[in-house]
Amino acid sequence: MDSKQIVAEPESAAQDVIEVGTLVEEVSIDGMCGVY
């Protein structure tokens, strides 16, 4: 499964590149800040 990362391009940080029409996004349960 390929991971979909949000890449921040310096010139267009305000519009992140996301896949058009992505209805599902996956994150590791560890991917939340504020947890041990």
């Binding site: 991971s3 990362q5 949000i6 890449v7 921040a8 310096p10 010139e11 940080a13 305000a14 992140d16 996301i18 058009v20 029409g21 992505t22 209805l23 996004e25 994150v27 590791s28 349960i29 560890d30 991917g31 939340m32 800040c33 504020g34 947890v35 041990y36």
Partner: protein, 437 residues
């Protein structure tokens, strides 16, 4: 108490997840639950200033009631920590209760109680995960932070878990100036025991404030860490603690969002609910689960969390080209270094944090003290060199109204105070009993 703030309109399909989460959720996705302030260690950077048990700790029944609430709210997962959670006599009972009520558990431990029998029990439960804390790939580096023989304890625990067939438990490291040179070795240790490596950020929280200046990574080391994660980090967890490093160019995997009060929070050993375990301070205290409405009401209606779920002002940072992923960094890191929350992170990779800290210092600014301190009382600090004597401070108890009774005293109840609520410093009153051993 409900605040009549209008909930911000949520954007529709196609938006970034992180934008949806900034408005908060009806229930946390997961949360940290510190079960006790008691700990057998005294790590120099402890975010919760743990060591001594607080006598106001939640009882076993109160803990089960919290778990019932979490089940109702469909919180998927709790990260149980402390102090050292396994020193609570009811720890295994609570883990079993949680996992049989649809609440997954990952608990964080220094390994002191992970015997072969315990490891076998854990390996047999699909809904428990274990996280072993280690802050050095060698004993000298580790024990300087976590105390004598703590390295040995962690290694033994990991060996027991591996021998019991426990797959993919976590080896969790707080990245410091002294251990960033050891990243490859940490990976090797994790691989050796079949564990998954987790690298997390040091925050100046709890006792961390005392050692922040000497232990937080240098700018060069931050870059080194970032490069290492990009090159080797595919199976390495980070707890999303490095989103401030996204200004180096590519955001690391994770939500890249401060989850405090939005998707996560902390429940502490006495039932206080804080925005995040790195922010144990009155400023970030949302309420207490012992109040009417329990945890659910605090999560959904507290003034603090409602405020955090409003769009945040980035202040000076919002004009930065990396603001969208860096978001001005970590709220706790800013707060405990005395920096304003609407300004740069103290470790801003573009150097704005250092600048802000210098200005703050020049202006004579101080740093907030943690609201509580459950540290072990040794004064001066216990030597870390080995098995030296533990120095203890002898002092008079302040909660007794008079010195111990003399033989001539006529009143048999002299010095006895009927059971009352414990004082603000949590001390036990004479004549009352702690509910735990």
């Amino acid at each position: 108490m409900t605040i009549a703030l209008d909930a911000p309109t949520r954007p529709t399909t196609g938006t970034r997840l992180v934008d949806l989460f900034e408005f908060g959720l009806d229930s946390p996705i997961c949360l940290t639950w510190e079960l006790t302030y008691a700990c057998n260690l005294s790590c120099v950077h402890c975010l919760s200033s743990s060591g001594r048990r607080d006598p106001r700790e939640l009882t076993t029944e109160e803990c089960k009631a919290v778990i019932d609430e979490l089940e109702r709210m469909q919180v998927f997962y709790v990260n149980i920590g402390g102090g050292e959670p396994t020193v609570r006599p009811d720890f295994w009972e609570l883990v079993e209760y949680a996992t049989s009520h649809h609440v997954g558990v990952k608990f964080s431990t220094n390994g002191v109680k992970i015997t072969p029998d315990v490891a076998a029990m854990l390996a047999a439960n699909d809904y428990v995960d274990v996280q072993i804390s280690l802050d050095g790939a060698t004993a000298d580096v580790n024990d300087a932070i976590r105390g004598p023989r703590s390295y040995e304890t962690a290694m033994r625990a990991m060996q027991n878990l591996a021998d019991a067939g426990m797959k993919n438990f976590k080896l969790s490291v707080v990245c410091t100036r002294t251990n960033i040179p050891q990243l490859d070795e940490f990976k090797a240790i994790a691989d050796r025991y079949g564990a998954q490596l987790r690298l997390t950020r040091l925050r100046p929280s709890g006792r961390g404030a005392d050692v922040w200046d000497e232990l937080h990574p240098t700018a060069a080391q931050q870059r080194e860490l970032y490069d290492w994660l990009v090159a080797n980090g595919e199976n390495v967890l980070t707890g999303d603690s490095f989103f401030h490093l996204s200004a180096y160019g590519q955001a690391l995997p994770g939500l890249n969002l401060c989850g405090a009060g939005r998707v996560v929070c902390l429940i502490d050993p006495v039932g206080d609910v804080y925005a995040c375990p790195f922010a144990i301070h009155d400023e970030f205290l949302a309420g207490n689960i012992r109040q009417p409405g329990g945890f659910e009401r605090v999560w959904r209606e507290s003034e603090l969390f409602t405020r955090l779920r409003q769009p945040q002002s980035g202040g000076a940072c919002s004009s930065c080209q990396f603001f969208d992923t860096c978001k001005g960094g970590c709220m706790a890191a800013k707060f405990f270094t005395g920096l304003p929350l609407d300004g740069p992170d103290p470790e801003c990779v573009r150097g704005f944090g250092e600048e802000a800290l210098a200005k703050h210092k020049d202006a004579g600014g101080g740093i907030p003290k943690p609201s509580g301190d459950h540290s072990h009382r040794t004064s001066p600090p216990r030597p870390r060199s080995g098995t030296g004597p533990v120095r203890v401070t002898i002092q008079r108890r302040n909660d007794l109204s008079r010195p111990p009774v003399s033989a001539c005293e006529e009143n048999p109840l002299a010095g006895f105070v009927p059971q009352q609520t414990t004082g603000a410093d949590g001390r036990q009153q004479e004549g009352s009993r702690s509910s735990h051993a």
